[in-house]
Amino acid sequence: MPDIRWDWISRNREDIVQLAIEHLVLVGISMAIAIAVSLPIAIMVRNRPFWGGVATYTSGVLYTIPSLALFAFLVPIVGIGQEPVIIGLVAYALLILISNAAVGLQSVPGPVRESARGMGLTGRQLLFKVELPLALPAIMAGIRLATVSTVGIATIGAFVDGGGLGELIWQRGIQRGLFLTPIAVGALVATLIAIVLDALLVGAEWLMKPWERRPLPLSVGRRLAWARPSEWKRAATG
């Protein structure tokens, strides 16, 4: 690849690492807020079809706003920098998170719900001991999807000075006459971050639902199994 300036990469290594960390922080903060907002909403609307519809519709509308436009709208209100980016990223993550969590909570089989009630679980016990554990796979799938797309969308935050890997692509690449090297590095690192985060979340999901273990791709699963003490015993007893 003749167009890649390897010397630029080695000269700017520290900056690249710094921006990657900034990117991770942006994604992390946004996802934390989005999860904290969407889970209670999903729990509240799970037995209320009307409000469930309102929640998914509202977050669906948010999702359709082009990200560049959304960031731009937010600048007059909260100024430039990380704030508009985080608000925008949270808004985008909400649709995926709410709808996945709501579907997961609703998918608890009727007989399981009925027998749990019949055995004397209170509403709260039903939620924490039955509904949430069983909805976990769906919730985790939502978190994975939202995380991966947030890593991508966050690069657009550079237009409003949000920092992160978008800065390599926009300020240091496109704005300097389409200097390709930083653009390629930004895109590549963002992709790598997305892939690694997704793999970590797959592993986390796998650890959280021992009742339907399937082998993970790339045999990550067998190695992850050693993270659980109960698996040591199982392995020891054959």
């Binding site: 007989p111 719900r113 009630r117 004397g120 039955v130």
Partner: protein, 393 residues
């Protein structure tokens, strides 16, 4: 862990329905209409009737999954509506057709559900789980840590049963618990439940739509129609004298045969067995024949051993006065039936052996008497007559 230390005398309660009515909004007639019935402690009552007759609704009012519109349900005299639903339900076992095991918990975790809600200490819970798994025939060491998805349908229902028994509830509610499994598994589950119920005699309300199952499982059968109790009687009485055409139709045209399925051999008069003892002198046997002391059946006498156990039938013309009576190996006197065999099974044994008489023995294998094919037929015919007379009255 097979000790019975945590089954503490197995509490069983008296369950009373007192004028219970349930109206659902938008329905013209009540789902359950002035339903009054008492289930004696430790008995199995089967609620049966066509779909929509209110049997499941009646059952669900016991643990307040459905609230009655009027009337009262009491367990050991205490009204269920004076209790908080969640607490009440922990004292009432609940088994449903689709089992509803929690897929994210192991077998042990599922069985431990109610003990955990009751905040037993973990040592007691572990012992209780193993004890119950033993009781339902799943080896604890092998099954404790499995997940429900790793069990067959029959095994899942067994775990469901163990889970319902875990808190040692005085009352159990079972909603068509065995109807989602194949016929062979169902039969085995029914037998295991009956065996279990003898060990742990809970008061059981069992909803079923299958009259054969009801006849087999029930101490008392409650037939329901359009929310009302039509007849409440032991199975034999229900089969012999249905209260009206509806019940007669419901129990089926073959109720005479069904009745044979619940009467035991010991219940009908046995004929005395013409017994001679192996090794006895032939002359002595011939003397008893002449005196009329020994009444041969089809010109044969039954040779028994010194423990009165049946050996073989011997034609009287083969008795030689100067020889001892021949011994034969055990098992030649086919068919031999135990006194607790049902008449239906005895009939089937007779037909299978192409015999007209069966030797009836007690638990130790000693001869009690002889059951004749014609006696079974007479018994079946008399139950039909009784029922016809009942319908005419």
């Amino acid at each position: 862990m097979t000790g019975a230390q945590t089954i503490d005398g197995s509490a069983a309660g008296i369950l009373e329905f007192d004028g219970v009515t349930k109206r659902f909004s938008g329905m013209s007639r009540p789902a359950v209409d002035d339903f009054t019935l008492t289930v004696p402690a430790g008995k199995v009552v089967v609620l049966i009737g066509p779909s929509g007759c209110g049997k499941t609704t009646a059952m669900k009012m016991v643990n307040r999954l459905v609230e009655p519109s009027a009337g009262e349900i009491r367990i050991d005299g205490a009204g269920v509506r004076s209790r908080r639903p969640a607490e009440l339900r922990r004292e009432i076992g609940y088994v449903i057709q689709q089992v509803g095991l929690m897929p994210h918990l192991t077998v042990a975790g599922n069985v431990a559900t109610v003990p955990r809600l009751l905040k037993w200490d973990s040592e007691k819970i572990r012992a209780r789980v193993d004890e119950l798994l033993d009781l339902i025939g799943l080896a604890p060491a092998e099954y404790r840590d499995r997940y429900p998805a790793q069990l067959s349908g029959g095994q899942q229902q067994r775990v469901g049963l163990a889970r319902a028994l875990a808190g040692d509830p005085p009352v159990m509610l079972m909603d068509e618990p065995f109807s989602a499994v194949d016929p062979i598994t169902r039969e085995r589950l029914q037998n295991d439940f009956l065996r279990l119920h003898r060990v742990v005699p809970k008061t059981v309300v069992f909803v079923s739509h299958d009259i054969d199952e009801a006849v087999k499982m029930a101490d008392l059968i409650a037939v329901m129609r359009e929310g009302r109790l039509v007849q409440y009687a032991p199975a034999a009485e229900l089969l012999a004298s249905p209260v009206d055409d509806f019940v007669a139709d419901f129990v089926g045209a073959d109720r005479a045969l069904k009745a044979l399925g619940i009467s035991h051999v010991e219940a009908i008069g046995l004929r005395p067995a013409p017994m001679v003892t192996a090794g006895e002198r032939g002359a002595a046997a011939l003397a008893r024949l002449v005196e009329g002391d020994l009444q041969p059946i089809d010109d044969e006498v039954l040779v028994v051993d010194s423990g009165r156990r049946p050996l073989d039938w011997l034609p009287i013309d083969r008795i030689r006065g100067d020889e001892p009576l021949p011994a034969a190996p055990l098992g030649r006197a086919d068919p031999v039936v135990d006194q607790v065999t049902t008449l239906r099974d005895a009939l089937s044994a007779l037909l299978g052996a192409s015999a007209s008489h069966a030797v009836v023995v007690d638990g130790s294998g000693a001869v009690l008497g002889v059951l004749a094919l014609e006696d079974i037929v007479t018994q079946a015919a008399s139950s039909v007559r009784a029922e016809t007379a009942g319908a005419d009255a």
